[in-house]
């Protein structure tokens, strides 16, 4: 794929936090798509590519094209967990470059707060893990954190700084769920989930959804759209289960990041990744990203959380 061949020209959130009663994940996807198309200055009639993922629908893109009435859309509902949508961007880029579609929407919807954790994403039975009752995904992150503390001397307080920094970001967001600052002591004293992690280290369970609109760079320029160009994409799936993760403190982001920067023709991926990736208010994903890059942070003598602190000027 070619650097900058496609662009994101619209983006929107659905209702988030705690949505109205009886809202479905597909309702939220549709709401996000309508808002994102409005943001892009397009309508549903322009859309000929549909990409979606949610843990609450096995064939979400079938449900979504049925709902939208787009039977001939090019579709993909790759599900690889939280990075499904970054991979959708890459797949949409490939489809747009190949001329398989001209305007693609990528959508997510979840009512996990309303239906509960078990209702939203029931775990698959794995005969090599399920008997030990890991509380997934927290237990997987907990064991990675345990290794990180062992290998690098990372302290419990430093891990808590990730959650504290994420909350600082959330306080800048008017629609964030949590409205109050979080202290390191709050994190350490919260209800334990899977040692060393407490409930405050873990993702909030909230309803939400959203969508983005993508098109070719040529069309984006012709529309005069405000466009965010896709410069590079990468993918590395090292494991699905924590017992098969090759190194608990090295994530696939090392490989996928390198691929993305190679495609983009950029150097210094580490520092730039920090800047773009730590904007996420998701504690879990921040934590995961820190695992990928903490070797670098340690080499710099800098605390990982300080790099993601909004007050540190790294926006």
């Amino acid at each position: 794929m070619v650097r900058g061949s496609v662009a994101i020209i619209g983006a929107a959130e659905s209702d988030i936090g705690a949505v109205a009663a009886l809202m479905s994940p597909i309702d939220l996807m549709a709401q996000g798509i309508q808002r994102a198309l409005h943001d892009a200055g397009l309508s549903l009639a322009d859309v000929d590519g549909v990409f979606s993922a949610t843990s609450q629908a096995r064939t979400s893109v079938m449900s979504l094209v049925e709902y939208l009435g787009l039977p001939n859309a090019y579709t993909d509902s790759t599900i690889v967990g939280g990075s499904s949508f970054e991979i959708h961007v890459a797949h949409a880029q490939a489809a747009l470059e190949a001329g398989l579609c001209s305007v693609a929407v990528i959508a997510y919807g979840s009512t996990q707060r309303t239906v509960g954790r078990r209702g939203a994403s029931p775990r698959e039975y794995n005969p090599y893990e399920t008997p030990f009752r890991p509380f997934l995904p927290a237990t997987a992150y907990a064991m990675a954190a345990n290794r990180h503390m062992f290998e690098f001397g990372t302290t419990r307080e430093q891990l808590a700084e990730v959650a504290v920094a994420a909350r600082e970001w959330a306080l800048l967001n008017p629609v964030a769920w949590e409205k109050k600052p979080l202290s390191i002591a709050d994190v350490l004293n919260a209800r334990p989930i899977s040692d060393p992690l407490t409930v405050r280290d873990c993702c909030l369970i909230t309803d939400g959804g959203g969508a983005i609109v993508m098109t070719t760079a040529e069309r984006a320029r012709a529309m005069g759209a405000k466009a965010v160009y896709v410069l590079g994409c990468g993918q590395s799936i090292t494991h699905a289960t924590i017992s098969s993760m090759p190194h608990l403190t090295h994530t696939g982001a090392i490989q996928s990041g390198a691929q993305a920067y190679r495609m983009a023709g950029c150097r210094r991926p580490i520092s730039m990744c920090w800047r773009c990736m730590t904007r996420s208010p998701s504690i879990r994903s921040c934590f995961w990203k820190i695992l990928a890059f903490a070797r670098k942070a340690k080499a710099d003598g800098s605390c990982p959380a300080a790099i993601s602190d909004p007050k540190a000027g790294c926006r």
Binding site: P131, F132, R133, T139, R147, S194, D195, P196
Partner: protein
């Protein structure tokens, strides 16, 4: 005759008190969890072997369920060169440490649940 599933063979070993794994001549390494073909090479050359049942704790956590007692979940690096999820028993879950020497024992089948492997500390290690 259809092939036995890898899981069936694995459980049959556990029922005999054995921790089984596979070895792949094409990759030159141990393979776990058990499979039909070797990862990477795709060869159907996997040979079943029985582990001596000794290993080291690679990572550990204590899970705190909303109901019931906290319990250990650990990743064990087994000496023959494979890693597996399990738990360490016979000591408090908070006392399990990375690098702890452990040995396998079978958690016997209960009702519909097949046997599974757990580990206990090696005395004097």
């Amino acid at each position: 005759m259809p092939a036995d599933s890898p899981l069936t063979t694995y459980i049959a070993h556990l029922e005999r008190g054995e921790l089984a794994y596979q070895f792949s001549p094409s990759t030159g390494g141990a393979v776990f969890y058990p499979r039909m073909i070797a990862p990477g090479t795709g060869k159907a050359d996997l040979e079943w072997r029985v582990s001596k049942g000794l290993g080291l704790v690679h990572a550990t956590t204590v899970v705190h369920p909303q109901q019931g007692q906290p319990y250990n979940v650990a990743l064990i690096d087994v000496d023959e060169g494979f890693r597996m999820m399990s738990r360490v028993e016979d000591i408090a879950p908070t006392q399990v440490r990375i690098g702890m020497r452990v040995k396998f024992r079978t958690h016997k089948a209960e009702g519909d649940e097949p046997p599974y492997p757990v580990f206990i500390p090696v005395e004097g290690a």
